[in-house]
Symmetry: C2
Subunit: 247 residues, 2 copies
């Protein structure tokens, strides 16, 4: 049973206050990089996995996507998404990412932002997503960067000479991590970059691009509190495409 912390009232309240929740896509600092990794939306059938408040679903339709199916495991998130959306070509529904029940070869693009690190079995998910993608379909996603999810005690430390460092350990020790983020006891699954890429490759995906996101100079100028993020990337963005000839 996947964790559904998003329906916890306190967590939901905290999550709703995040800049990316209030402002949508432009409130997510990595969006301008992620956006460039997407194929042209015109005419696409899009699956928005872990759609949250539906910002990407609405954007995809504005860019000409033919239709969007948007899935989340939180009823509260979906209710808010429905409230924010007036477009009958976006269909919101409640489902676990691992158990979608969608038709084979019915999507040209699967998009999921900052959600796959909550998934325990990435291989099973890739196998399922491969089925519902068309040949040459795209799978574009962001996750918390493995350098960010790895540590047993994630956080910054100040060295004797004043250098601020990210206390990295356990990078190659994949598996469950419990952290406090908005609410205590949020469960994530740490995997290496190698595991993400090789799992995609083993399931017939081709890697198109990989970005280890950090703020650019302009963003740091506007948001000085982001400056430390260049010391270790908070997000990993991957663009992959299904090969045509896989079984």
């Amino acid at each position: 049973m996947p964790q559904n912390i998003f329906d916890d009232p306190n967590f939901f309240q905290g999550y709703s206050q995040l800049r990316r929740s209030r402002q949508g896509l432009t409130g997510a600092p990595e969006w301008q990089v992620l956006q460039k990794m997407l194929p042209p939306m015109h005419g696409l059938r899009v699956l928005d996995l872990a759609c949250g408040f539906g910002a990407f679903s609405r954007w995809a339709r504005e860019q000409g996507a033919r239709r969007v199916v948007a899935v989340d495991l939180s009823e509260k998130m979906l209710n808010e998404a429905r409230t924010r959306t007036s477009d009958t070509s976006v269909a919101y529904y409640l489902a676990e990412m691992e158990n979608l029940g969608l038709a084979d070869a019915s999507f040209d693009l699967i998009y999921t932002a900052l959600a796959l690190h909550y998934i325990q079995d990435l291989g099973a998910l890739c196998a399922a997503l491969k089925q519902i993608l068309t040949p040459h379909g795209h799978f574009i996603f962001s996750i918390e960067h493995p350098i960010y999810t790895a540590p047993s005690h994630p956080g910054w430390q100040t060295m004797p000479d004043g250098t601020k460092i990210w206390a990295l350990d356990a990078y190659l020790l994949e598996g469950r991590r419990v952290t406090d983020w908005i609410a205590p006891g949020v469960v994530k699954y740490h995997r290496t970059i190698g595991t993400y890429l090789n799992t995609l490759l083993e399931h017939g995906f081709r890697i198109l691009r990989l970005e280890e996101w950090g703020p650019n100079a302009e963003q740091i100028e506007a948001n000085p509190e982001w400056a430390d993020e260049v010391q270790r990337p908070p997000f990993l963005l991957i663009a992959a495409q299904l090969e045509a000839a896989t079984g």
Copy 2:
């Protein structure tokens, strides 16, 4: 002018004492993983870049490679390689990796171990290597892992609770790093994983596999001093293949 610290007598002496220098491929802990990323050697025309003492060149020939061209920028390394090799189908010659002067489409496999982090312009190198590879030719390499090369002060720290951590900073700040390794003042170039992958992709390579190497349980049992390497990977191994239809 590339750095040629390998012809410094003291450096050469120290380098010659390394386990990987004395024992060849089996002395390199990452070899058993890297070996699995290689195509079958039979009949291949192989370029061994930064060949050092020639261990890979000899192995490739033993596995059936048709011929091997082995290049290094150190005359001392090449002399030792020639001494260790009795095989007229291995040709050793002195050249900089960036200036090889080899014929177009003349190699099926380019291999280079722990050398690309000494190269300043990875894009120019990929453009040159692409020219001398055959269509579908393989490019397989190991480098020091970007987590290992990034820090301004690379090293382990012990946290107040006793946890040993790798003091990571400057990961997204690519460029020159000066470290003391065998000799003082060794110059390396730090690049992110994203830059390695995207540079390959932009030059028409397909990614086949990526391994962030750390010791397995058996290796730690035999070499307890390697145990900490699971906290942060020391090596990154990448297998790529040239697309047929690139310009």
